[in-house]
């Protein structure tokens, strides 16, 4: 079953990757005949409950934790929010994160306390977007009551991988009482989660980033409850996260995660070749294309370049017209592109950052997609550069 729209060159897998056909198939019965509430006490409910339990086992196996440590949530953002606000609610103190975190972490940390931000500390990063470990150590030393440190495993905009073993060493030494959380939402397709989990106390996942449905997240709490729940009610998920289980979504998420894990090594190799070809193709085709982070510092599915002399908002319009789906930075509530906080933190100047283009590959990406993307992007950038007259290609001064 091909779930991708024909004719579309889809290079926005970091925003959402198409659902695995197997996952769609797996969720169907729970959207129709198996509708019972898994928390019910009859045999019909027990069938649904079994499906959720088995999904939990699968997730635990791929993540490398005990099934009791898996909490199903409503999305990756909820998992991140629960980790940070739940830690502060339970332990008080201060939360720390690097400046390139997804807003699901960063905005929470920036707004902690009264006045807002009083209980949050934001740490700088290097030019690749990795947390500055010396600065992190210094902040932890200077802040005695840090209760949680949150560092993403893979950056959603530029694809940079952070070595969480290193981060963990710093956190354990300089803030032995603090929890370490990682937003691993962009990691599942590319990294072996079993190698990350041992270093952290809390880990967030989002199903639609690895071929599952939207509306399902995971928060792994190693060693049992570490933080207060965000959603209180019927006591589902061992009182970690109330609310009726999204049975269909949870089942599909587990199927997708399992498939992704089994194919991960092969897909990494396949997509790294295509990604390298994509970046090399753009660099050959166009002047003024700068790779934001070297390929060996980031995941195989991520290409991020800054194109000189154009604005990505205009470029994305032309790509959209030509049926190429790509992105630039994160969008605000109105849908407008915001200047990237990630690139700003990495020290990329604002004018360069205005030409940012993120192309992310995934399980449906083919060599033909890459070829077409290079052609279309090349032609579109040429067109923008040729039409732009002095004074119109303004920088955002």
């Amino acid at each position: 079953m091909d779930v991708t729209e024909p004719g579309l060159t889809y290079l926005d897998h970091a925003a959402s990757t198409p659902m695995r056909a197997e996952a769609v198939e797996a969720m169907m019965p729970y959207l129709s005949e198996l509708y019972a509430n898994p928390s019910g006490s009859h045999r019909f409910a027990r069938r649904a409950r079994q499906a959720v339990d088995e999904a939990r086992d699968t997730v635990a196996r791929v993540v490398g934790c005990h099934p009791n440590e898996v909490v199903f949530t409503g999305c990756g953002t909820e998992s991140d929010n629960m980790a940070i606000t739940g830690a502060i609610a339970r332990h008080g103190g201060v939360a720390v994160c690097p400046a390139v975190e997804h807003h699901a972490v960063l905005h929470v940390v920036e707004q902690l306390g009264e006045p807002a931000g009083e209980r949050g500390r934001v740490v700088g990063v290097d030019r690749f977007g990795r947390v500055d470990l010396d600065e992190l150590a210094a902040v932890l030393d200077a802040t005695p009551d840090v209760s949680i440190v949150s560092v993403m495993a893979v950056n959603n905009e530029v694809g940079t991988i952070t070595d969480l073993a290193q981060v963990a060493r710093v956190v354990r030494r300089h803030a032995p009482g603090a929890l370490l959380h990682t937003d691993a939402v962009q990691s599942a397709c590319w990294l072996d989660l079993r190698e990350i989990t041992p270093h952290v106390d809390l880990l967030s996942l989002s199903a639609h980033k690895f071929g599952g449905p939207k509306g399902v997240g995971v928060l792994v709490e190693r060693g049992g409850p570490k933080v207060d729940p965000l959603i209180i009610g019927g006591g589902q998920e061992r009182e970690r996260r109330s609310g009726t289980h999204n049975t269909a979504g949870i089942v599909a998420a587990a199927v997708a995660l399992d498939l992704t894990d089994r194919e991960r090594v092969g897909e990494n190799a396949r997509l790294a070749v295509l990604r390298d070809r994509l970046v090399a193709g753009l660099e050959d085709r166009l002047d003024g294309v700068t790779e934001t982070v070297p390929l060996d510092h980031k995941v195989a599915g991520s290409a991020h370049v800054c194109v000189a002399g154009i604005e990505s908002e205009a470029l994305l319009f032309l790509l959209d017209e030509a049926d190429v789906c790509a992105s630039a930075a994160s969008a605000c509530a109105s849908g407008a592109m915001e200047p990237s906080h990630v690139l700003a933190a990495m020290g990329v100047d604002r004018t360069t950052a205005l030409g940012a283009l993120r192309l992310t590959l995934g399980h449906t990406t083919t060599a033909a997609d890459v070829e077409r993307a290079v052609d279309v992007i090349g032609a579109s950038v040429d067109r923008l550069r040729n039409r732009a007259t002095p004074g119109t290609a303004r920088s955002a001064s």
Partner: protein, 343 residues
């Protein structure tokens, strides 16, 4: 034609998109994100963007959001704040039209292969027998917005469309209602988008500039009292006693001069930064000094991009910074406009 329709989420631009579509144009709706701070409609006016997007969806046209926040800050908000420190009263909506809608957005549209930019302004673009473009008042006298788009020149007019300019507002709303556009009964926006009704101008400026207390004097220099902030005083406003009006504001000396209505009368004014619809005009014209003010007879003489306006009858002093727009004797056609000088 391929037309980019600026959609604010209001009924006028909704109907503009509809009319363009009905006329057979290829239409793409664009909402500009201009202001990132507080506004009466929420951050980035999200609910207005939602309305624009939903109207576009109903019409079956693409809808995009462009972020021109940096341009808006630089060309509209910063000059607005700066003007108040100098005792000048700017019109930010006109600056937005000049620097953002008919500059930045129009350039973007051109870059992306569009033939024209359309907006929901109540003004009309015509053509003379010898092929020159004209800018005229909107058909609905009460809604006419030709004053705020007076800065367009021939090249800009050629790439601009005002689809609703020939409509009466009541008909426009009826048309919107007839196809159930969600914006059909949405109230017209009244005020500057970045000034909230709760905080007002005082709180907006107070967050950005230090206010200076000032001395109120009469025309002979006698001290009459104090004002808390000279930056908030506008020429012509009542103050300083019964039947007294502000004649002048000197922010540097922190002095507000007040006098009678008669003291406020002036025989002439000087207008800078003139732009012309189709070349400079001298002689007898009608002159309008606010968005909904009356156009009054005067004689103008142009000198470069400055003009001198001599009123037929003395008029109350126009606050420096205000846009002054010239209309032809029939009071339909815009000739040009500029900014009232501090004299």
């Amino acid at each position: 034609m391929k037309v980019m329709c600026a959609m604010s989420g209001g009924v006028d631009s909704s109907v503009a998109a509809l009319l363009l579509q009905q006329a057979g144009h290829e239409v793409v709706g664009v909402t500009m994100k201009l202001w990132g701070g507080d506004s009466d409609t929420g951050c980035c006016s999200v609910s207005d963007v939602d309305d624009a997007r939903r109207v576009a969806q109903q019409l079956g046209i693409d809808h995009l959001v462009f972020n021109f926040g940096d341009d808006f800050d630089e060309h509209v908000v910063a000059p607005y704040v700066d003007a108040h420190t100098r005792g000048v009263t700017p019109n930010p909506c006109i600056e937005c039209n000049r620097s953002v809608k008919f500059a930045r957005l129009a350039e973007r549209a051109d870059l992306l292969g569009f033939d024209a930019v359309a907006t929901g302004h109540h003004a009309t673009i015509g053509r003379t027998t010898d092929g020159r473009l004209t800018l005229e008042r909107g058909s609905d006298d009460a809604k006419d917005q030709s004053y705020v788009v007076h800065m367009l020149d021939q090249a800009q007019l050629a790439r601009t469309m005002f689809p609703v300019g020939g409509m009466q507002k009541v008909d426009l709303r009826a048309l919107a209602a007839s196809i159930d556009l969600r914006t059909a009964t949405k109230p017209d926006s009244q005020d500057v988008c970045f000034i909230t009704s709760t905080g007002g101008r005082t709180s907006f400026l107070g967050d950005r500039i230090p206010f200076r207390a000032g001395t109120v004097v009469d025309t002979d220099g006698n001290q009459l009292g104090q004002v808390e902030s000279v930056e908030l005083v506008t020429i012509g406003q009542p103050g300083g006693g019964p039947k007294r009006y502000v004649l002048d504001v000197d922010t540097e000396a922190a002095t507000v001069t007040v006098g009678t209505d008669a003291d406020l009368l002036r025989g002439e004014l000087v207008v800078d930064q003139m732009s012309w619809i189709d070349g400079a005009v001298d002689g007898e014209v009608l002159v309008q000094c606010s968005a909904h003010g009356r156009a009054l007879p005067a004689t103008v003489s142009a000198d470069g991009d400055t003009i001198r306006v001599r009123w037929a009858e003395p008029q109350r002093r126009v606050a420096p910074g205000q846009s002054v727009v010239l209309y032809d004797a029939s009071n339909t056609r815009v000739l040009g406009g500029g900014i009232c000088r501090r004299t």
